[in-house]
């Protein structure tokens, strides 16, 4: 299982967000460059349709592949009240022939994206991962070198933390509490619940940039 929240931020404020995260996490950022392929089952395959994501990590010298299945979100009155999404997730590292494998099984490419940006991974009440990326689409199949932003000027921030049935309420609390630190710059909420950009973001960003001594663009 994992806990997840998302938000959007204007690209011009990403540097300020980076400074804030650097201060809060105490770890260096890592580069993100992931080719994400979303595959869906063909028309006759499976009693219900299924979807799987193949992630190719292009940030390392040797590309490596992971396959990911995102399951349903936790339901019930308790789930409605918390501001963090709790959902099942299964992931596996796989060999390079995974795309050919799923095509052979009868899965088809639904869409692909190139996600570029950075990530902070740290421990703060839970194992938290903060990813800030721009989503890019490819004009031609698999053409990662020709990718262009889907939403120029806007980047996606995602915070995730692994959880288990026994401890998810502590993980939810840790994630919610961390989100409060980021409130001046961005709204974070359950995926699918759009909160838009924060009106105070510009002022907060300016303050962060001047405090850190960084030059504004």
């Amino acid at each position: 299982m994992e806990c997840v929240v998302q938000g959007i931020i204007e690209s011009q404020h990403v540097e300020a967000l980076q400074i804030l995260l650097q201060g809060l996490c105490g770890v260096p950022k890592e580069r993100v460059r992931v080719h994400e392929l979303c595959l869906k089952s063909g028309p006759n395959l499976g009693v219900v349709p299924s979807e799987v994501r193949l992630l190719c990590d292009l940030a390392q010298p040797t590309p490596s592949w992971t396959v990911r299945h995102v399951g349903g979100a936790m339901r019930g009155a308790g789930a409605e009240q918390i501001s963090v999404l709790v959902r099942t997730i299964v992931e596996s590292k796989v060999g390079h022939n995974v795309l050919r494998f799923f095509y052979s099984l009868g899965y088809k490419l639904d869409h692909e994206l190139l996600k570029e940006g950075f990530v902070f991974r740290f421990q703060r009440g839970a194992q938290i991962t903060v990813t800030v990326t721009s989503a890019n689409k490819m004009p031609k199949l698999y053409a990662t070198d020709e990718a262009v932003p889907v939403t120029p000027g806007i980047q996606l921030v995602e915070i995730t933390a692994p959880a288990a049935a026994e401890n998810y309420s502590e993980v939810v609390a840790a994630v919610s509490s961390f989100c409060e630190y980021l409130a001046p710059l961005l709204h974070l909420s359950k995926p699918g619940v759009s909160m838009g950009i924060v009106p105070t973001a510009a002022a907060a960003a300016a303050s962060l940039m001047s405090n850190s001594g960084a030059k504004t663009l």
């Binding site: 063909g42 499976g46 219900v48 799987v52 299945h69 299964v90 995974v98 494998f101 052979s104 099984l105």
Partner: protein, 187 residues
Amino acid sequence: MPVKWLMHWQPNQGVTLTTQILTEACQCVESQLGGAKDGRWKTALTYYRPALREASASGDLPRELLGVALHDQLGSYYFLLRAHRLILQADSSMQALMDKLQSYKPRVVLNFEVEYLPLSSIEKSRQILEDFFDIWQDTVKKRSLPGHFILVEPNFADYGLQDHYTPQHTAVQYATCMTQLMAAVRN
């Protein structure tokens, strides 16, 4: 990684295989060839079939997907598509992932209890293992046991595998072994 050769026992026509026969065949190695039993290990093979919305129209979907869990590679899982000569290596969580997808369902699970009695190059080890295999077959024949071992001989190159032995080679041997066994049963 040490090379592993898989063999299956072919009983003589009309003979039923018993544990007694196999125990005697293994004893040949211990008494005549100086081998020592290292203990048992379990390997599991799962045959998956596609779940179809319309049973009649399977189209070009593979009829069979094979999953292999090797006892000595507990963190890994291997999927084989023999029709496509494809082997995929994954973490053991891949089995749970396929279950979640519900597109391929497990139909038969076979558990192998194997006696392991421990060269990474297949070509270099071939002569040594062939000699050993010949000696073992001779010893078995002298005991007049009603059957003989058959070596599994898959074409590793078909799956894109190299001469250096890996767990993927073992998974391919299991898949080929099952084909040979099923062909023997049919004949």
